[in-house]
């Protein structure tokens, strides 16, 4: 098997408040192959966005600091690079798109100009060529009449169109990896389906690798090749999509799947996970899921479980893993 394009090992982010430091991202490891779409799944506060921000060195507060870990891009360690050298990676080799494109596009600059600016910043060249490339990118992301629409301002675009423009902007530098942070969460389902198809097409045509951050297991099941489930800042399960969805080993993964209402779910009470996700300043000891876990056994409260292999590439961190197959067991309990 070919070496992964991106290898993240033991990524750790600490939040410092006075003397105390809590690890809001704690030893997160995953690998991304060329052309692979990896779904990073978790609830709010699970660390899924923070792990990717740390990877891009875009931690949003001075209280948050990278506390360890290694990131290899195409075999080269990039974690220790000085900031000036890192600029040739962030936005260029690794692009990013966000949940709310309106707040990441310049409201007073025409869409085409913003994309052309990025093309010239990353690749140089003349203004006219950059403008032509911008129109071509808008065409590739499915904007009708791209030559005319390039002159529009972001507020003249609908939500789905803005997300397409944001994708075009991220593609302007010909990145190898795209980090997509909940890009369809704010969109209507019909538009979400269009954007998911667009991302698949871009992956197929450009061989792009995508890290897709989401809380929606349905989106992961439809779009991704592999799944990495985070809880309380740690990876609790990682593996190929079909393997994880058919045989979830971590009780949290199995619980999340059982919570999905499912369009075919019939009526009646939903299964739930009791309790609430932990706050970042009060993370439980041992396995961070143990206070909510129906499978918890004696060591769970004290000993952090290691990531154990269950099948090729399928790892789960649990002292008492789930044994039964879980897909299609959405019974009402």
């Amino acid at each position: 098997m070919s070496a992964p394009l991106l290898r993240v090992e033991g990524l750790t982010v600490e939040s410092r408040a006075g003397e105390a430091a809590t690890r809001i991202v704690d030893g997160v490891s995953f690998a991304l192959r060329r052309g692979e779409i990896l779904g990073l799944v978790g609830e709010s506060g699970s660390g899924k966005t923070m792990a990717c921000r740390a990877l891009m060195r875009l931690l949003p507060s001075s209280r948050l600091a990278l506390a360890g870990g290694s990131v290899e891009l195409a075999g080269e360690e990039i974690m220790g690079l000085p900031e000036a050298a890192f600029r040739s990676i962030r936005g260029r080799r690794i692009g990013m798109i966000f949940q709310n494109p309106a707040s990441h596009l310049d409201p007073v600059m025409r869409i085409g100009e913003q994309i052309a600016e990025s093309v010239r910043f990353h690749q140089g060249g003349r203004r006219r060529q950059a403008n032509e490339k911008a129109v071509e990118l808008l065409r590739q992301v499915g904007i009708p009449d791209p030559a005319q629409r390039a002159a529009a301002f972001p507020h003249e675009f609908s939500g789905g169109m803005r997300q397409r423009a944001m994708i075009a902007l991220a593609l302007a530098s010909d990145p190898e990896i795209l980090i997509a942070d909940e890009p369809t969460t704010a969109l209507d389902v019909t538009v979400q389906a269009q954007i998911l198809r667009l991302l698949k097409e871009i992956r197929d045509s450009r061989g792009l690798s995508i890290i897709f951050i989401t809380h929606d297991l349905g989106v992961v099941a439809q779009l991704c090749d592999s799944i990495c489930v985070l809880y309380g800042g740690r990876v609790c399960e990682i593996g190929p999509k079909r393997e994880v969805l058919a045989h979830p080993r971590h009780p949290y993964t199995a619980g999340l799947m059982a919570c999905q209402p499912g369009t075919a779910g019939g009526s009646g009470r939903l299964r739930t996970i009791p309790g609430y996700p932990p706050a970042s300043d009060a993370l439980p000891s041992g396995c961070r899921f143990h206070p909510r876990c129906s499978h918890a056994v004696s060591p769970c409260a004290e000993v952090q479980p290691p990531l154990d292999p269950f099948a090729p590439d399928h790892l789960a961190a649990c002292h008492n893993p789930v044994r039964q197959a879980s897909l299609r067991t959405r019974e009402t309990a």
């Binding site: 538009v191 389906a193 198809r197 197959a325």
Partner: protein, 345 residues
């Protein structure tokens, strides 16, 4: 439908918001056509889901039902109260019998009041219990929504999103309402918490015979919770009927496309490549003819020009389309998935 049995009657409701004019000197007056002739009847104890994409008018309809929006024309009647006439005594009675639960639970609560004070405020204003009994009733309401009464001493920022939403529901229940309008009340919550809130509504409905208007864009949640569902598109109800009938045999192409657009957790139920083209047009300038025709795969010449089809009704299942029932293919994910025993290793 037996009109006498209805708790809420909405009759040909039209609601247009004027917006600041475009053109030279802003003289070109325009309006957002949020509701364009909505009729709906809800029986006592029924849970109805209002679904549709953003801009479909579902939230506006929810607010208009509670008399929170100025109506352009048409009528809303709640238990004999003419909501649209806006008489002060009528509205006061309406406020005593209805409540609303909002989408963003932390913003809907006063940050300076503790959860307990926020609930006590409602009890005081509506004089539901004697002042001396308020603390006991607050604890009772917190327990009713599944919160530890000691959490009543906390302010919203010390509560999680799910806990705040439970406080919001406790405030709504404090007035002992006949009807609750819940506007996207689980959309901002984590998946594992959504289920808790949905189950809470299922419990409360059984115990208190609540009438619930549940506004949501998440069709899966609506299918779980609601007896009936009304699908809205650009300010019109395009389909309305018993939930199972609508989901298993949709009669309007928009409903069918919405159902197909939901990504299923089973990778074998593949999301179609293009469930629907384009996005909803702006409610500032509605298309001529049927408002859905620019996105409709079944549109014919008459759909472009003729006035929009009115809601036809057969077997208590209404639809606003020229197609006959059964003309649309059954959605792939319509039939309930067989329940596995799940005990095998």
């Amino acid at each position: 439908m037996n009109r006498a049995a209805s708790l809420l009657e909405v009759d040909d409701l039209v609601l247009h918001f004027p917006v600041s004019g475009g053109g030279a000197l802003g003289l070109w007056r325009r309006s957002v056509k949020a509701l364009n002739g909505v009729s709906l009847a809800i029986r006592r104890g029924e849970t109805i889901g209002l679904v549709g994409e953003s801009g479909s008018g579902k939230s506006t309809l929810g607010r208009a039902i509670l008399g929170l929006e100025p109506v352009t024309s048409g009528h809303v009647a709640f238990a004999g109260i003419d909501v649209t006439a806006g008489r002060r005594a009528d509205l006061a009675r309406l406020r005593r019998e209805t409540a609303m639960v909002f989408q963003d639970p932390s913003n809907a609560l006063n940050p300076r009041l503790t959860a307990g004070e926020a609930i006590a405020e409602v009890l005081r204003v509506h004089r539901k219990v004697l002042p001396a009994e308020i603390p006991a009733r607050v604890s009772e309401l917190l327990s009713l929504v599944g919160l530890d009464p000691t959490l009543g001493n906390r302010r919203p920022q010390a509560l999680s999103g799910g806990q705040c939403q439970r406080v919001g529901i406790a405030r709504a229940l404090a007035i002992e309402p006949t009807m609750i309008v819940a506007d996207e009340c689980v959309a901002a919550l984590d998946v594992s918490i959504q289920g808790q809130i949905i189950n809470l509504f299922i419990d409360l409905r059984e115990r208190m015979n609540l009438t619930l208007v549940f506004i949501a864009h998440d069709l899966a949640v609506v299918r779980r919770l609601c007896d009936r569902v009304a699908v809205m598109y650009l300010g019109r109800i395009v389909e309305e009927g018993p939930t199972e009938a609508v989901f298993s045999a949709p009669r309007h192409p928009y409903t069918a496309a919405l159902i197909r657009s939901i990504p299923e957790i089973d990778p074998d139920i593949v999301l179609p490549d293009a469930p629907m083209q384009g996005e909803p047009p702006s409610p500032l300038s509605l298309p001529a003819g049927c408002p859905f025709h620019p996105r409709c795969p079944h549109a014919e010449a008459r759909c472009h020009a003729d006035p929009p089809p009115s809601l036809r009704r057969r077997d208590d299942h209404g639809w606003a389309c020229i197609l006959e029932p059964g003309a649309l293919p059954t959605p792939l994910n319509a039939s309930p998935i067989p329940i596995a025993t799940g005990e095998s290793a």
